[in-house]
Symmetry: C2
Subunit: 418 residues, 2 copies
Amino acid sequence: MASSQINVKEQAKKAQIAGKALSILSTNDKNEALLIIADELEKNYSFLLNENQKDLDKGKEKNFDSAFMDRLLLTKERVNDFANGLREVVKLKDPTSEIVSEWTLENGLKVKNVRVPLGVIGMIYEARPNVTVDATGLALKSGNAIILKGGSSALSSNKAIVSVIHEALNKTKIPVDAVQFIASTDRKATEQLFTLKQYIDVLIPRGGGSLIETVVTKATIPVLETGVGNVHIYIDKEADVEKALNIIINAKTDRPAVCNALETVLIQKDWFMNHKDLLISKLNEYNISVHGDKEAVKMIPGSVEAVEKDWAEEYLSLDLAVKLVNDIQEAITHIEKYGTKHSEAIITENQNIAEQFLQEVDAAAVYHNASTRFTDGSALGYGAEIGISTQKLHARGPMGLPALTTTKLQISGNGQIR
Amino acid sequence: MASSQINVKEQAKKAQIAGKALSILSTNDKNEALLIIADELEKNYSFLLNENQKDLDKGKEKNFDSAFMDRLLLTKERVNDFANGLREVVKLKDPTSEIVSEWTLENGLKVKNVRVPLGVIGMIYEARPNVTVDATGLALKSGNAIILKGGSSALSSNKAIVSVIHEALNKTKIPVDAVQFIASTDRKATEQLFTLKQYIDVLIPRGGGSLIETVVTKATIPVLETGVGNVHIYIDKEADVEKALNIIINAKTDRPAVCNALETVLIQKDWFMNHKDLLISKLNEYNISVHGDKEAVKMIPGSVEAVEKDWAEEYLSLDLAVKLVNDIQEAITHIEKYGTKHSEAIITENQNIAEQFLQEVDAAAVYHNASTRFTDGSALGYGAEIGISTQKLHARGPMGLPALTTTKLQISGNGQIR
């Protein structure tokens, strides 16, 4: 334990020193490095797949479920996707070249507010090897060093990926130390990251609610909180039937396991009474399991009665909570109580009601007549994203490259005093 | 203790509800309210001064030092200053009316990124009654509710100020509950604020290092860290003598107790040898007590030898640490080790050396040939400030009204699914 303590701290120190060298490299130097990493990953796919097999074997022993095993799995195609992801990052604008604003004071002082890298990013995530590559690409492009701590079930895969990245970095101007990997499976090693404020500028936890909660509670370093989405759609009295049904089905079934997927639908009672047959047949067609409130459960065949935790839960499956409400006010009150301020939608043809919803609901993204599945960096045109922030400070919603930067005031004078 | 627990939580809940109502008020409604508060403060100055006397009496009993007593003191003139400060805030642009960006996706979705209030701000500060008024003004103008927890030594003064604010709010559209004051002197009451994440969106600690450290370590709510400034000025070999001396004296003596005041001067050895007589006579003239490194202490009459803690300390007095260095690299390394990333300056006529310093030194504000005293919202043209952020996330340097807002994506469609 004492040795892992020294280790993590030493890694963080090295990352900080490397980050300083990286922070002043040109955009070209950084892009070239990303392209070399992409090529090396593709060249080494069979090594990566071999190492991945070790994790898969252990996962099988531990009887992980199929969704988990699928996220863990590497294939040649997926390795190519990693590489192409990096090539996409190369195309994104380098945020650190930007002068945010510039002005001259009456006393002649010239003030320039410039965008600069954060320094060192600590990335804590679950057993998804793709995050190892994605996060590294975004960190390096924005001039930041990164410390990676992936889920222990993907240890061999991540180790292999990082070894290829390190080999590649040897051929570039980016110091190898700019990418640090915590190879320990000891929880204590992760927790050491939480307080290394002297070396790490921000922690980004990416994964389930309990991982994020642990980091937020224990860290003294600033945290960029990502992603738990208890997403609601409110079907207003004046909702168009086709739009409502299409959006419910899309938001629930397109990718049920992601954070912008629908979890609870709030339906205005009159609308429900008028359209329940169509709604029920659609829900059946897509194998959606309904957890209904007291009234709904009586009218929806095969549904079970929702208990308190159904309203708060992120199912991440084909389960759907259904609550009948009298009006938009009841819907908003429910969302305020149970929502996680991620993505919330209203379906209505009434523009005033829509405006009220867009203004009053407090979330990273609020929608009128569209699927909540669009809360995503690439879908919204931001390019790649490091995660979706559900906090209000620094960055809210999908976080692209600018979220990995800060600003600095550069002030030039000729002897001004106050 | 149980009762204070319920109390603080209830106050936070009320603030949240009031904040929602406040968040949708017009700029005019908010400005009118601030003007009424300003008038009421002026009208009630004798009540405020009476209540302030209770704090002053207690402070005398406790033998607080004269600087502390001065910060605590209210006078008719100071109350007028509070009111005029609010009238200045009225003139500032309302940040919440701003559309940050707007675009249409290929699928026809219209995306609007709008600036909205954070919600509820928790302000934790020391015995400075002016913060009660300043912070309230900035919070209300930006559409936020505020929970105030001031230092116990100013309890009677703060209570009185808040009672006048509440009276005034009764005549406005802003709910009285939008300004909550924690009247308890129990430390436990303050600590409850740290974890009321459901109701409070951000904590802003303003005061000395230990107050800030406590909040950062114990809070699970995001914190906007303000202000400890261990400020350095590096006098380069090619520094102009007059600029260097003027800036050292200004940055050290103009207001020694503030965070942008100079604490350590790093002097290139050749420059020091050439100009030490002038420098020493200036330092003497302004009663500056020098803590010099091994070399400097031998050459500066009346100086004492600096120990390790001198390099890390924020003196906030007429003490000054002096270290002789060989070159800019040694200066930067020293700043990296001991600096608090607040304000750092270089004095030189060499443009390349200046550029290197501005680029490589990591701080909220970096200066070339100017006094560090300009790191201040009003001096830089931001208008009033809620504090100076020394963190990198969300806001860096002086924080004006926009730092008290977040953004929200409002997305409108006609049935788009993914």
